[in-house]
Amino acid sequence: MHFNSISEALAMGGYGPYVWSTVGIVIAVLLFLIIHSMTAKKRTLTMLRLEQERADKIALAKQSNDDYQSKPNHN
């Protein structure tokens, strides 16, 4: 270990704020990127599922409308 104590390591020879803010920003950005990339598949599948449900609903509505129209004397 280059430093004699933890407080000395945290101080970084007077450059502590600079070094540790860099470490913090790097960790924050990487974490954000990792979480965003890991949840991407879930988001996509949810989006596709909702699209599919919507398409099914439209098809169903169209079908029942067609059935209604094709019946004679519905007025």
Partner: protein, 262 residues
Amino acid sequence: MWKWLHPYAKAETTYKLCYRLLPYFSWLAVITLVSGSIWGLFYAPSDYQQGDSFRIIYFHVPTAIWSMGAYTSMAICGLIGIVWQIRNAELAVYAIAPVGAAFTFLALISGAIWGKPMWGAWWVWDARLTSELILLFLYLGVIALYNSFEDKRTAARASSILAIVGVINVPIIHYSVEWWNTLHQGASITKLDKPSISPDMLWPLLLNISGFLFVLAALVCLRLANQILINDARRPWVKAMVSEKTNKAEQSKNKATLADKE
């Protein structure tokens, strides 16, 4: 000889390859980044001129190197997509761009934080810094261009062309410290003769450089797989995945209602 490449033109095969490679890249990234960062932050000797502020190098140099490396690979993917019309390469362009942009951002921020105590300024408009900032704008341009087209084939072509044209910036960044007078120091480890950095400082730096490459690779695997999923949304294999998800959701809903009844 190149026959083994053929199956990867099929999106599903590439999708599976992404998830097969992901654990290797992730674990290598964790191991190299944790050991390299701890070694660099606590065990490497301090610099005789810069004291302990030089430790920012362990984050600044890897992100800067791979901001350019990611851009070059993105441009190569764009070229492959345009010339040979390979859809997976076009998707890779959009998979790489956000990761490259984040790395560029980190290189700029860590450089600014390093510049304040060493140069006395957060930012100077010199060649190295300005060209790296332009790299960030190129990444953002590629992302924005891709998102501004409803038709994703057109989007991929437009952003690929921007990526290819912008690659001229990469050698400019690299040689900026030689071509112009600059505050930024010259190359230390990519020199052809002996690197001008002590081995005690160099080893953790090499660990972190490889670590950030593995992070880049793992994230691109995840994002490319997702792009393939979106692109193949109408194909049977993706539809099967979606309906499986729907079934699971319905099953859990049924279970919940059963539990309520009881």
